[in-house]
Amino acid sequence: MSTTGESQDIEQATSAVTDAPDNKTRRYDRQLRLWAASGQSALESSRILVLSSSATATAILKNLVLPGIGHFTLLDSAIATAADAGNNFFLNAQESIGKPRAKEALPLLRELNDSVDGEAVLTDVKELLKTEEGRETIRSFSLVIAHNLDKDVLDELAGLLWADLTNPPLIAVRSAGFLAEFYTQFHEHCVSQPHTDGTPSLRITRPFPELLQWARELDFDNVDPTTHAHIPFVVILVRAVDEWRAKHDDRLPITPAEKNDFKAQVRAMKRKLDEENFDEAEAQAWRVWFEPAVPSEIAALFTLPPLEAPASSTKTGADLPPSPNPAFHALLRTLNTFVGSPGGPGCLPLSAALPDMRTDTESYVKLQNLYRDRARKEKEHFTELLTDIFPNVAQEINEEELDTFLKNSHQLRVLRGRKWGEWDKDKAAVVESLQISPRETGTHLALTALSTLLSQTPDGSSVTVDALRAEVHALVGKDVELPEEAELAIGELARSPTAELPNTAAFLGGMVAQEAIKMITRQYVPVNGYCVVDLIDSTTGVVGTP
């Protein structure tokens, strides 16, 4: 701490080699701060198939090429029209008219990022769907995105991708004028890094021995005033809980009165009014009555029914039911075993992450080291169990994945999806949704009706308010009275049945790319259901969540 020591440190430090990031890290800096190297590497290994090179399709791709996916294929047999040249930023205006649309778009997308590989395939997806080789090509991608694909073709594509658990997810996008929706079809999506705000347990009511020892042995009454004013709130609460339990048959405070008494007990530990660490302990007292061994959302994951696998699905081995995410399920099952294991803490593993608190450097570092050591020990125990139950997974999993899983074990997410179009078959559910979310459901139904009409007359000539309304009634039943919101959506689609507005395309480009990134990186939580967009009211909403 002496001045000489300090300047020596500075001298040593400044002579060190530079740790400045390389060009790639600098280029991706603003996104690496969100999904880190692991997310980036997932993006870079992804291969994305995009059906159509419409304004919306290229807008989506732009937002995936920029952050650096590995490869994309534009599959489109269309010839660029005068209209395409007017609404698609990734065409060379008039010069592109009459030329293959995908081929024209390709160089303009590729120039966004040299490290992304892309190709244009001038084939109709219908042709690919006809042969096994073509179907295998479709299945070989990590994600398939389709915009305004013909209804029947989309149904066939969705069926193909749904047929096996290991097939890629499909994002189906539909839009006309100011209205749009997108839907991600997947069997199951597991997220070990959801970036939600869950607070991991600090083990205040289940202190591990070293923490309890600190709280018990610290002589609160006789330490010097400076130390007293810097006791970390965690230690204060562990001590307070310990004393409370001694006086209350080993119980925690439950009733509002008891909670108030507990807070009063913490206040009474103060020596001086301005000891902010004790104020902090009181403010954090909720941790004492809200510290489940396993949060209910996580407990629910332990009892998830097995996936209803399509008949053709490949088995994943071990004694796990079929799943596209066998390793995640192996970890999940091990987590359940860990919680019940006599050698474990009786709750989820400790996260080494400690929030900042009012204390001095020494106490904070000491506390942090205690948490780190304990987390390490629990990780060892977890690894032993994993090796025991799933030796193959234990061998294959990398350290970082395991750490991420354990660190986030209090906020893991498993989403179960549904086949594209499946919800619409459940008329009762759709009619109910029409009452609860009339705008979103009405818009979804109107878009479905539109796609039916367009599959008959692609130029939109048969699209009228009456024709759309009749189709919607065919979907929900003739006797169902349509809410005003559904009529507004029908009216708007009749106005602009084949309009792909630049702003709607750009909006969807962002929304769908966000979802694609979430699916690929397995970070953040994708939307599950039909995400419906209304750019007149400027709203979004989700319906048809399984």
């Binding site: 100011f178 970036h195 450097t361 309009a499 953040y524 939307v527």
Partner: protein, 432 residues
């Protein structure tokens, strides 16, 4: 490049048949939510494509997207202001820029790109600050869209457009559309100066920036961020003296990183990295192409609807959170009657008779709905405390220790000015 720009600027013939097939479906007939005043057909097309003049503030993450969307939507007279040059870290989202453009002015490169890609559109760039321009300049536009990352610049343009409004001249009311993003989150809003909630009205919605107490930084560091703050706030001025810290200079970041690392090592704190150092000192906000695309599209969609009356526009705030599914919230933010910019009334402030001027200044700096850094105070013609120039500061400094109640009577007004404050704030003092 220049030749292309000239050709573009004078080429209404660039409109090939069918060019606006998509947009025209909207412009040729009304929908169920279209205002009756909508003039479907050639009138609205002519206004949008030949008459409407729109200003885009910022040619960065949002700005690039906004320019492309406006051009494709049919706006043909677009102006753009940006004072920045292109950095390599912009390339993950600012899609009009390439590695060869690093170091060049954003506004100029973006304008050229748009004019080359979208024929018939004129984009007039200005490489400089919005504050360089006067009222006459802003008066020429029909609409203003902001894609900025600075609160200060937004407050300035907001106050400028509110002050521009002359009730006798309806055309002096310039709709202001403002967008902002952070990671997977963002917001877009429509401000009709003096008629709806303005940027200043919602200042308290901003997250309070994380500020670490100086005693933590100096005495009890716990986090790597504390060590970095120590290096930048305390060590830089101590060791480097008068030299100004330039957070864009890698040598400066490197120096801070090494100082912070040494401090962290001394205190056994882990986690100081180059990237974290840069993030803390530059206050870097994560940014991705997709979120910018959503928010820019929303802003341009509102601009299109307002310019054409083809559909109802946003009233007045759209907020999106894409981290956990897709959550958005569209609501009407209420105008604040005591808004210092658009409310027209003074802000009431209740203080104790015992408070000193110094204490009052501290409170003003703290307040989230005021957000001022170095306020100067006066009342009537009387100076209370001035931050600058030095002579005036020295002359008024003794007042800092005086009680406010000795200088101002109950119900009296104090005028607050500051360089970061684009208007004079009136406070009405009430003693408790």
């Amino acid at each position: 490049m220049a030749a292309a720009a000239v050709m573009n600027g004078n080429a209404p013939s660039a409109d090939w048949p069918g060019r606006y097939y998509h947009v025209d479906q909207i412009l040729e007939k009304p929908g169920p939510r279209t205002d009756p005043s909508f003039l479907a057909g050639s009138g609205v097309k002519e206004f949008l494509r030949d008459k409407c003049k729109i200003l885009v503030i910022g040619a960065g993450g949002l700005g690039c997207e906004i320019l492309a969307n406006l051009a494709l939507s049919g706006f043909k007279d677009i102006h753009v202001i940006d004072m920045d040059t292109i950095d390599i870290s912009n390339l993950n989202r600012q899609f009009l820029f390439r590695p060869k453009d690093v170091g060049k002015p954003k506004a100029i490169v973006a304008a050229e790109f748009i004019m080359n890609r979208v024929p018939g559109v004129t984009v007039t760039p200005y490489y400089g600050k919005i504050q360089d321009k006067d009222d006459d300049y802003y008066m020429q536009f029909n609409l203003v869209i902001c894609g900025l990352d600075s609160v200060e610049a937004r407050r300035w343009i907001n106050a400028t457009l509110v002050n521009l409004v002359d009730p006798e001249k309806p055309e002096s009311l310039k709709p202001l559309i403002d967008g902002g993003t952070e990671g997977f989150k963002g917001q877009a809003r429509v401000i009709l100066p003096t008629m709806t909630s303005c940027y200043e009205c919602s200042l308290d919605m901003l997250n309070k920036p994380t500020a670490f107490p100086i005693c933590t930084i100096a005495n009890t560091p716990r986090l790597p961020e504390h060590c970095i703050e120590w290096a930048s706030v305390l060590e830089w001025p101590r060791v480097r003296g008068e030299q100004k810290l330039d957070t864009d200079n890698p040598e400066h970041i490197q120096w801070l990183y090494q100082i912070a690392s040494a401090r962290a090592k001394e205190f056994k704190i882990e986690g100081v990295t180059w990237s974290l150092t840069q993030g803390v000192v530059k206050n870097i906000i994560p940014a991705i192409a997709s979120t910018n695309a959503i928010i820019a599209a929303s802003c341009c969609n509102e601009a299109f609807k307002i310019a054409t009356s083809s559909a109802a526009y946003l009233n007045n705030y759209f907020m999106l959170i894409g981290t956990d599914g897709v959550y958005s919230y569209t609501f009407e933010h209420q105008q604040r009657e005591d808004c210092p910019v658009c409310g027209g009334e003074s802000l009431d402030i209740s203080i104790s008779r015992e408070w000193t001027v110094d204490r009052l200044i501290e409170i003003l700096i703290e307040r989230q709905d005021i957000q001022v850094k170095k306020p100067s105070l006066s009342s009537g013609g009387k100076q209370i405390y001035f931050q600058a120039p030095p002579q005036l500061e020295e002359a008024t400094r003794p007042n800092l220790e005086k009680k406010v109640s000795e200088l101002i009577e109950d119900g009296g007004e104090i005028t607050v000015t500051a360089t970061t404050l684009p208007f004079n704030l009136s406070l009405r003092v009430k003693y408790t």
